[in-house]
Amino acid sequence: MIRVSDLHKRFGDIHAVNGISFEVKRGETYGLLGPNGAGKTTTMRMLSALSPLTSGDIEVGGINVTERGREVREILGVVTQHDGHDSGLTVLQNLALHGYLQGLSRSRAEERAVEVLTFFGLEDRKSANVYELSGGMKRRLAISRALLTQPPVVVLDEPTTGLDPQSRNRVWEQLAVMKRAGVTVLMSTHYMEEAATLCDRLSIMDHGKILDEGAPDELVERHAGEEVAQVRTRSEEALAALRERLAGTTFNLHEVGAMATITSDNGKRPEISGIDGIRVNYRSGNLEDVFITLTGRDLRDE
């Protein structure tokens, strides 16, 4: 349903997207996971025909984005990173206008607006000004806006960033319903839990490249191991000993102050014994471990 091949985007000297390729099958939920500045938003903007490609190709539903961007936007529901609601209009008017611009008749747009508002539990806010809504409601409104035309493909850029856990759960529920309805979804996120819960497959991106791709479980197996060791060290010497022990092995040590996590490159459980002054606990590997293994701990600028 979505095919991205050898995609590049440069802004002056910055190579924001540096040769990525991936495919999303019909009905699949696909995630782009990466730190800030990884190139997720740029990729999604190019895919929505909001930003010209430097080179490469994107097809959505068999339609080439560069040649027929307008048609792509006809079959695409887009949730941009910023809600982008129109503060001069009410909730219902926002949706009705969007539906009309998308191609629905004025009466049909209004009908659909009420339907999606009901679906997202916002029907009693339809006459409110958008600036009166809470953050979670604004986000749900943005998602409902993308669903007005019942598009076969929906693109969501960080759908839950900045939401409280309740609102996030609510958004997840709605995404699950969408998924059951057979909608193809491409989403970006930097929440691991979100990616693990919602995505059938995902790519881990950093510095404009895809570092690895696969189902969440596969990625965990490949880069973290089913079980990872959580280590508490009591002294600098103990930590040094641990470092020495793991050097050159298939295990990776990720230090956070006096804490450290040990992941595995080949799925093996890291067995640590014979070092004084450390305490080892085991827990299930997760996407966070994968993420840190692949992208490191450096802070990113926006």
Binding site: L50, E71, L89, H98
Partner: protein, 267 residues
């Protein structure tokens, strides 16, 4: 108008999707009438106050000028066109910047609309706003007997042209403003000086000789000149030049505005 590959419109390079333009105009109308109690102060009350103060107040001190029977008659088309300018300019500078800054255009662009259609819808609305204030103030002036009722219809022509001149010009500021305060320049550098020095309040002929051609070249002058031709029923060939000058400005400003907006919105 040619478009970049990124906008890649369906149906050939020249096809305009009128639904897009209509939708944008309708958005403005719906939003505008929600706040009509506020906007009417700017559409009618503020320019009417200026008109009465200048026409009836200062008018008592001034003898009739240039073909007009009274100073009030002279100044009426000037104040009307000034108001038309403010409305059009404000719409596509301040309001358009607000829509850039709050990602409203970004949201609209996720639908099958082009930047060209977006700006066309906005300019159409800017012209509409110019017409609202023109008709409102002209009707008020007609009630005072400062303009012939029938000439109100004639003034609509320069109001549309001038609305397009300033409606397209406003985008220059919206598309290049790095921050909101920058937009003050729309008033301090453009609108206010033009309001006073475009032959609205005194004939350009009273200016020093070397300033005269500059005043004639200013973008509001042809609108005021043409409106006065209608208002005082003194139409002649120079009013046609004014119309052509405005059309020329639109022909330059319009593609520039679209180019600047595309540069700002499509990255």
């Amino acid at each position: 108008m040619t478009l970049t590959a990124a906008e890649n419109r369906a149906g050939g390079a020249g096809a305009i999707r009128w639904r897009s333009v209509q939708g944008i105009w309708l958005r403005h109308w719906v939003s505008y009438i929600r706040y009509w109690k506020i906007t009417i102060t700017w559409v009618l009350i503020e320019p009417a106050v200026a008109l009465v103060a200048v026409g009836a107040g200062i008018g008592q001190l001034v003898e009739a000028v240039e073909g007009a029977d009274s100073y009030a008659e002279f100044v009426t088309p000037g104040i009307i066109m000034g108001s038309a300018m403010f409305h059009a300019l404000f719409e596509t500078s301040w309001n358009a910047y607000h829509r850039i800054d709050n990602q409203i255009y970004e949201t609209q662009l996720t639908t099958p609309i082009s930047v060209f259609e977006l700006t066309l819808g906005d300019v159409a609305w800017a012209v509409t706003r110019s017409l609202f204030t023109t008709v409102a103030v002209a009707a008020f002036a007609a009630a005072l007997g400062w303009i012939d009722e029938w000439m109100v219809i004639g003034i609509i022509i320069p109001a549309i042209l001038s609305g397009m001149v300033f409606g397209t010009m406003g985008f220059f500021f919206a598309a290049t403003a790095p921050y909101t305060v920058f937009l003050s320049l729309v008033f301090t550098l453009v609108a206010t000086p033009l309001y006073f020095f475009s032959g609205s309040f005194f004939p350009i002929s009273v200016l020093p000789n070397w300033v005269e051609p500059i005043a004639w070249a200013m973008p509001l002058t042809p609108g005021v000149h043409m409106a006065r031709g209608f208002a005082t029923n003194t139409l002649e060939i120079t009013h046609l030049w004014s119309a052509l000058y405005m059309i020329g400005m639109i022909a330059v400003f319009w593609p520039t505005a679209v180019w600047l907006m595309r540069r700002r919105l499509i990255k």
